[in-house]
């Protein structure tokens, strides 16, 4: 698990300076916990929404909505998270609310795109076979299309998660306790060490999240295919790392 190793290394980079006048490690850890929670709170609805939209626009009935959904996702992606946070503060107050909204906007596109691409890549014969055997459309989606699309969808989720962890730093601007706090403080006080600590801690968290996601997914896949003698159920990292 290369991601987890990287995460550990970066975490050291982030924490070590704490003993030499940098940002105190205790506070950094507290911020990291809050950061992780915030990122999760943003990425989960983004993932659900992206998945739901992706499924919707690949159904025969939702195909008409595809251009609109694509355009919306692109627009959402183009709003810089800082701006989204700032615009959302008057409506949502300080703290998590506006940040979650920004993460939501930012996370939908990767998940939506990955879901659509993955569902379109499902072999048409498998889909046809599912219908021909008497699956209802929903059953075919649940038991055939989604499982086959899963590796690519997972890739999209991974991207969204990493983006969310990196982006959650802007929550600092809205008063949420995140690893963006030392970054913004450092920027204001010209303290490069704080910026480095914040950035390294954020990166560490992102890698750790990625590693955990892949480990969880690999575990799930492994359980699903435990009984198979085939070499196909290989390590998830190697598969999803492929472009």
């Amino acid at each position: 698990m290369m991601a987890l190793l990287l995460a550990a290394g970066l975490a050291l980079v982030a924490l070590l300076p704490g003993w030499f006048g940098g940002f105190p490690p205790g506070r950094l850890l507290g911020l990291a916990a809050s950061h992780a929670g915030l990122a999760l709170a943003g990425v989960v609805p983004a993932a659900l929404l992206g998945l739901a939209l992706g499924v919707l626009v690949t159904r025969p009935s939702g195909r008409a909505l595809r251009p609109a959904a694509d355009a919306l996702a692109a627009a959402a992606q183009a709003v810089p998270p800082v701006v989204a946070v700032a615009l959302a503060v008057p409506a949502f107050g300080f703290g998590w609310g506006p940040t979650i909204l920004a993460l939501l906007l930012y996370g939908i596109m990767p998940v939506l795109r990955a879901t659509v691409a993955a569902l379109e890549a499902v072999p048409p014969e498998a889909r046809l076979a599912a219908l021909a055997l008497g699956y209802t459309p929903a059953g075919a989606l649940r038991e055939v299309e989604l499982p086959l699309a899963w590796p690519l969808v997972l890739d999209g989720l991974r991207v969204a998660l990493v983006l969310a962890v990196a982006t959650a730093a802007v929550g600092a601007l809205a008063g949420a306790a995140t690893l963006g706090t030392p970054i913004v403080l450092g920027l204001q006080n010209q303290n490069q060490l704080l910026v480095l600590q914040g950035a390294a801690a954020t990166a560490a968290l992102a890698f750790a999240a990625e590693g955990l996601l892949l480990a969880l997914a690999g575990y799930g896949a492994g359980r699903g295919r435990r009984s198979s003698a085939s070499p196909a159920s290989s390590d998830g990292t190697a598969q999803s790392r492929k472009p």
Partner: protein
Amino acid sequence: MIAFENVSVSFDATEALSCVNLQVAEGVLCALVGPSGSGKSTLMKLVNRLVEPSAGRVLVRGADVAGQDPARLRRSIGYVMQSTGLFPHRTVAANIGTVPRLLGWDSSRIATRVADLLELVQLDPDLAQRLPGALSGGQAQRVGLARALAADPDILLMDEPFGAVDPITRRDLRAELRRIHAGTGKTILLVTHDPEEALELASQVVVLRDGAVVADGAPAALVAEDAPEFARTLLGGGQPGLRRLSLLPAEVARDACPAPADAPALPEGATLADALSRMAETGRDVLALGKGSLRLEAVLARGR
């Protein structure tokens, strides 16, 4: 069992089928042949509502399919595709057990059924836990067949089921199918590109061309001299006389008188064409067939 009444199907611009009328009786193995794009697959998909008619009615077991729940209907009809369409993420056993699971069978009953089916299509039980990616083409086709048979449907749709396998495996699978059809008496609709296969397996052959049925009848009738020209060319392959002989069991020309003691013997179940081949090989004009004999003139007389 299956009836098409004035059925037409249009896709956007193209008319895939126009005014098709066709009956397939219970227990019949009906072969659909015709050039590529003639509408064979479309005709077949009407039966389990993968395609909807733009005009006309399709009756299955006497009832119009239009009024039936598609999922229920499909579970009651087996379907085998050329590209197998096996679910790549499910083991062989899970693939075969799909429809029973949809029908809510309990798992021990499914397991028993899967084991029976593997035996029926002559697959090693060890394959049950493999994923389809790890099967050879012929094995995958057998799994596809087993999957279609799983819930013991009385109707089986087979769309070029043996298209992707080599000729040796193909011959095996063909024998398999004949055996299963004989043993179960299912109604089978079989799309094939191979005229020999159609003639050999089917008791009814339907020839399609440009979305219309141009011939429909017993195999022998379609290679006879009075058969429609297109069907004759398609099915006869330049030697309609020999094709006819290959459709007839040797018994029909048997002579009760015993053959000379040194006459070569013809095995049980051989066709008249087999008899002719054996005569050419041995240079003899009489063969022993069971207790009786088979004479060259009698064989040739049946080619008309």
